[in-house]
Structures are given as structure tokens and as C-alpha cells.
Amino acid sequence: MALTDTLYNALFRRNSIFVSSIFVGAFGFGLAFDTATNRFWDNWNKGKQWKDIRDKYVTPAGADEE
């Protein structure tokens, strides 16, 4: 009960807060979800993607100027 009451008072009571918490929540969830899935992805494919081997081929800026 305490939790539902807190939730109700904090989020659902005023429509303006309700709507903006949906927007903020969507933004935050998007960030968190992308970060988590991309981290899993990069870990799963470790060593295979371009960003993993890129360091072997880039010449540091200015190094190739004669």
C-alpha cells in the first residue's frame, strides 16, 4: 500500500507530472536499454568488429605528415 500511495502521489496525481515522467522515463529507458544491449553485443562479438581492430591501422593524427 505504501508503495502504491507513494507512486500515486509522486507520479499519477497531476497529469503534467504524469506525462512528463512518461517522457523522461522513455528517454531514460532508451538510453539504458541501448547501453545494456550494445554492451552485451560488443562483448559477444569481441575482437571481430572494426572498432576492435581499428587501433592496428590508424596512424595517429599528424604522424603521416612528411
Partner: protein, 334 residues
């Protein structure tokens, strides 16, 4: 009131009492006013309910019928013939080509990206070997940037090739060094020149070859590594080569990959199969440049969509539980 409930409806209320949503749903009873409910309405309601019931009773056979129709359509689309029907074909298995072995590609899993070091080596094999005969029309220099090479490397490679451009102010075409936006140079100016250079056979453009052949990567790999002496009794014309994976067995392209043909800067031993694997990975990338992000976004979409499906199933049951577990009681007029 409750004493009037038949044993059957009591059983039902007991079932719904422990509804999946985990809530105890009170049995609600609705008294129907006999004066307001005409008999015909009541009959109409019951006949409607029975049609609905027969539809849901048949859900299983309907689903299976749809699945079978779908798989027959899919099979027909894929193999060009209806399944389970005998079909006359004058082809021998040799004329259809040997089925390629299935190889464990580093990118074959649903979550696996390409091995980009392999793409880089494969580009080298394409450039040093295959590009002498095969074009790669759909790939521009810029496509390699951030995939297998850095922008500086690609600019330098493109700059070594001359492209015709123009017209200039005087209306003349002129030659200029290549830039990132140019497409891969072709070995022959046109199809006729390509045929003339290859005893009448056209080396196909390799941009989409992995998608364009049954067996994809496995086929091209088997083709490149599968050259053998023709078996006894098989005649191969002058200028043709025997390859059991090529439909018909006689292919104009000779065996090209031999151990040590190229020298990999990263020290990978350039065996025949290593070069074939690398060039096939490169060609697979050329045919599906979107491959890596497609799989990543596919993974994300599956997670989100299955979570949304689960939520909507839950909400549906949550909302329907009281409606499904209520009781309608008819109290006849005294």
C-alpha cells in the same frame, strides 16, 4: 442466492478464484429483470455465444491449416515446385552440382557479426586475384571506411586508380585520381570485352554473388576450393575446368587460389582455404553491408517486442478475469 448456483458454475468460480493474475476475484452475480429481458433477446445472445465458441474450438485446426498452406507456399517459392508431387527432371545430380558442405562461418549465428579482420584480408584477395576478371560494381571506396580500412588508407587506395571525369570548361573529358565516392574500378569496359577475355564466359559481378547462389557462402567457398581432376569418363573441353560444385561440372574459371598466393600483412598463413574463407567473408559483406547492424537491431527489436507482447497478454488477462468469472443469475418472476 449462492444456494441457487449449480455445481458446474461453482466449479467454474473455484477455477477463476485463483485466477492467473493472482487476484482472488469475487463472484459477482447480476440479477436480470425478467420484465426487461425479452425471450428473443435471450435466445439471440445464446446463439451468438455458440458461434463464437465454435470458432475458438476450431482454432487449432485453423492454425494448422494456415501453417500448412504457408509452408507449402514458402517451399514453392524457394524451390520452384510444389512439395510431395513427383517431378520429371532430366538432370543428373552431377548436372545440378554437388551440394556444398556447411561450414561454421564466424558470422553465421543470429547474434554474430562479420569478422572484420577477415573482411580486410578478403578485400586484399579480391583486389590481388579476383579483380583481374570480376567487377564489384555496387561497392564504392567509401563503403570500406570503418569496415575494413581507415579513411586515410582508402583515400590512398582510391587515389592510385585513374577515373574519367568531366566534361571540363572546354567540354573535354579528363582523367583524375579516384576519390572516396568513386565505385570500384571494373576490369573490363563492357560485357563483350569481358567475354572476349575469358573464352566467351562472362565473369559475373561479385557484389551480390553470395545472395545470388544457392548455398551462399558455403557454395562459393566450395567452388573456390573444390577443383579436382575430372573423374574417369568425364570429358572437359579445352579451356574449361572440372569443378563438381559447379552445376554441370565444367566451369570457365580455372583454379586460382594456391597456398601462398598472397601475403597477408597481419601474418595469417595464406593457405588456399584461408584465402577462400577471407574472400567469401568479404563478398558476403559486399552483398550484405547492413548485416551487422541488422542483427544488432533485430536482437533489440526481439527483446522489446517480446516484452510488449508479454505485457499485453498480462493486461488482457488482468482486465478480463472479473468479466469471465462473473455469474449471471436469472430470477424468474414470482
Amino acid at each position: 442466492m449462492f444456494s441457487r448456483l449449480s455445481s458446474r458454475s461453482l466449479g467454474a468460480s473455484a477455477r477463476y478464484g485463483s485466477s492467473p493474475a493472482g487476484r482472488v476475484v469475487a463472484v459477482r452475480s447480476v440479477q436480470l429483470d425478467a420484465e426487461k429481458t425479452s425471450l428473443s433477446q435471450a435466445r439471440f445472445a445464446s446463439s451468438k455465444a455458440s458461434t463464437r465458441a465454435s470458432l475458438s474450438n476450431n482454432a487449432l485446426p485453423i492454425t494448422f491449416a494456415l501453417i500448412s498452406a504457408g509452408s507449402i507456399a514458402w517451399y514453392t517459392h524457394l524451390y520452384g515446385s510444389i512439395p510431395f508431387l513427383p517431378e520429371a527432371s532430366a538432370n543428373t545430380p552431377a548436372e545440378d552440382g554437388l551440394h556444398p558442405t556447411h561450414y561454421p562461418w564466424s558470422h553465421s549465428g543470429i547474434l554474430d557479426t562479420f569478422d572484420h579482420s577477415s573482411i580486410r584480408r578478403g578485400y586484399q584477395v579480391y583486389r590481388e586475384v579476383c579483380a583481374a576478371c570480376h567487377s564489384l560494381d555496387r561497392i564504392a571506396w567509401r563503403n570500406l571506411v570503418g569496415v575494413s580500412h581507415t579513411a586515410d588508407e582508402v583515400k590512398e587506395m582510391a587515389g592510385e586508380v585513374e577515373y574519367e571525369d568531366g566534361p571540363d570548361d572546354a567540354g573535354e573529358m579528363f582523367q583524375r585520381p579516384g576519390k572516396l565516392s568513386d565505385y570500384m574500378p571494373r576490369p573490363y569496359p563492357n560485357e563483350e570485352a569481358a567475354r572476349a577475355g575469358n573464352a566467351g564466359a562472362l565473369p559475373p559481378d561479385l557484389s551480390l554473388i553470395i545472395k545470388a547462389r544457392h548455398g551462399g557462402c558455403d557454395y562459393v567457398f566450395s567452388l573456390l576450393t573444390g577443383y579436382v581432376d575430372p573423374p574417369a569418363g568425364v570429358e572437359i573441353r579445352e579451356g574449361m575446368n572440372y569443378n563438381p560444385y559447379f552445376p554441370g561440372g565444367a566451369i570457365s574459371m580455372a583454379r586460382l587460389l594456391f597456398d601462398g598466393l598472397v601475403e597477408y600483412p597481419d601474418g595469417t598463413p595464406a593457405t588456399t582455404s584461408q584465402m577462400a574463407k577471407d574472400v567469401v567473408t568479404f563478398l558476403n559483406w559486399a552483398a550484405e553491408p547492413e548485416h551487422d547492424s541488422r542483427k544488432r537491431i533485430g536482437m533489440q527489436a526481439c527483446i522489446i517486442l517480446s516484452a510488449l507482447t508479454a505485457i499485453s497478454l498480462y493486461v488482457k488477462r488482468f482486465k478480463w478475469a472479473p468479466i469471465k468469472s462473473r455469474k449471471l443469475l436469472y430470477t424468474p418472476p414470482k
